[in-house]
């Protein structure tokens, strides 16, 4: 029988983190930000059917970058957790903070215990009844949760995109202005993203019950024009 080599835990964690980061950086990035009427999500996504942004509950949306099958499984788990909680208690009891904690637990567990960590970063966003109650929970592959404000950038190129976002983001901007800011930040100096390259969705504060709405390419084009 051969003895497995001893790998110190520090090294093990470092290797896993590096593996996850590499996987994530292969995918395209995503930006979410507050705007006048809610929260806007803009993702670089050439596919019109494999979504990165989706609805979780009445006022909560999910966005993921990295490996599609992995974040889609997380999305489904989130929809299930939310629907079960709303069924057992009340619709108002479903909140992003609790979901983000559950995600963090699960992703942290997978990071340390499973064969390989998840190669994803996710965002759980919730609109409050006031802009000051909006929530952006950014969760990393190892279960780290970050409670962000104003905007959130996910993906491999997060740093340069964040820098551009700092300069282009304005508080209380309308949808068109916010969308342009996000698209420009995602594009950067080397490339220009058009409406066809983007997946856009919003959660609207004034929405009836289910506040999530996809913005299709035609509307995106006119908003960016």
């Amino acid at each position: 029988m051969t003895m497995p080599f001893y790998v110190p835990p520090e090294q093990q964690m470092k290797d896993r983190a590096e593996f996850a980061r590499k996987g994530i950086s292969r995918g395209r990035s995503l930006v979410a930000c507050q705007y006048l009427d809610g929260i806007l999500f803009v993702a670089e996504n050439p596919s019109n059917t494999l979504r990165k942004i989706s609805e979780i509950y009445d006022r909560i949306a999910f966005a993921g970058v990295g490996k599609y099958n992995e974040f889609d499984q997380l999305r489904q788990a989130g929809v299930r957790a939310a629907d079960l909680k709303g069924y057992q208690y009340a619709r108002d009891d479903v909140d992003a903070r609790s979901l983000a904690n559950q995600y963090a637990q699960m992703m942290g567990h997978i990071f340390t215990h499973d064969q390989k960590p998840l190669e994803v970063e996710i965002l759980v966003a919730e609109i409050g009844y006031l802009a000051s109650e909006d929530r952006l929970f950014h969760i990393l592959y190892d279960g780290t949760v970050m409670d962000e404000s104003k905007f959130s950038v996910l993906g491999g190129d997060a740093d340069p995109i964040s820098e551009r976002m700092v300069t282009s983001f304005t508080e209380g901007a309308n949808l068109s202005v916010a969308l342009k800011a996000c698209a420009q930040s995602l594009s950067g100096p080397d490339k220009t993203l058009t409406a066809d390259d983007l997946e856009v969705a919003v959660i609207e504060r004034a929405g009836n019950r289910r506040c999530f709405r996809r913005i299709e390419a035609i509307e995106t084009t006119s908003l960016m024009g």
């Binding site: 788990a77 929809v79 629907d83 079960l84 709303g86 995600y103 637990q105 699960m106």
Partner: protein, 260 residues
């Protein structure tokens, strides 16, 4: 509560009821005597008209010979383009409606697209079938389902029996204790390609006659301002008819009855 995460072989897919049973949230069925003195919800009707479907239901729930509720909502919106009306034991009926609404939303979110109208009707049939053991103990629930079919641009209607049997109807449906009277009124008054206001008047008249002859069906309660739930489903989605409009409809019915 931990996050529900399943292996591929255990995954319940977009089925919310299956998910409930996986996480142990399905109530156990009770064995024994039939229970009769629990609230029952009664008459619901639905008719097709030129733009879709009009659904209506009275507001009364009865327990034995007593009125247990005066403002029940037995006709509710299921999703954007469909509605469901329900008769039978009120508790299981309301639970079924809640589960049905949730199932449609759950499916839409999980799969990223809505079920077809036929799929929704079939889903409801499965739920009625699952209630059969309770139905045998006197907790029967019978729904009607109506919706707007965007591809054919018309309204469609289904009724069910307690075993989950599902029957599509072309003209109208009436269920519950007052269904004989309500159904007869509609049968006589129904015309192809009715306008919305004609359809609304017809279902109101049907409920009026049902309430007049059946003690378990409630008529318009003018004193308390409680009117039946009436809603139209068309390409504009689910649009409830407002109480002041219903008040006028019933006033004209009363005027007709007075002069006959």
């Amino acid at each position: 509560m931990s996050m529900p995460y399943f292996t591929p072989s255990q995954d319940p897919g977009a089925n919310f009821q299956e998910l409930l049973s996986r996480v142990g949230l399905v109530p156990r069925t009770v064995q024994g005597q039939s229970i009769i003195d629990i609230p029952h919800a009664t008459t619901c009707v639905a008719v097709t008209y030129q733009d879709g479907v009009v659904m209506a239901g009275d507001r009364r729930a009865t327990a034995g010979n007593l009125i247990s509720h005066r403002d029940m909502e037995k006709v509710v919106q299921a999703d954007t383009f469909s509605g469901v009306g329900i008769a039978g034991a009120a508790g299981p009926a309301m639970e079924m409606i809640k589960l049905f609404q949730l199932q449609l939303e759950h499916y839409e979110k999980m799969e990223g697209q809505q079920l077809s109208l036929e799929g929704k009707a079939n889903q409801l049939s499965t739920m009625v079938r699952a209630n059969l053991p309770s139905a045998m103990q006197g907790l029967g629930v019978v729904p009607i389902f109506g919706g707007f079919e965007p591809r054919q641009a018309k309204g469609r209607l289904w009724d069910y029996d307690m075993t989950g049997g599902r029957y599509e109807e072309r003209e109208f449906v009436a269920i519950g204790s007052g269904s004989l009277h309500a159904g007869t009124v509609i049968k006589i008054g129904w015309r192809a390609q009715m306008t919305k206001s004609d359809a609304v008047s017809l279902v109101c008249r049907a409920l009026w006659e049902a309430a007049d002859a059946d003690s378990a069906t409630g008529g318009p309660d003018v004193m308390r301002g409680i009117y039946p739930i009436v809603a139209a489903i068309s390409q504009d989605g689910w649009v409830p008819v407002q109480d002041d409009e219903l008040a006028q409809v019933f006033e004209s019915i009363i005027a007709q009855v007075r002069t006959r």
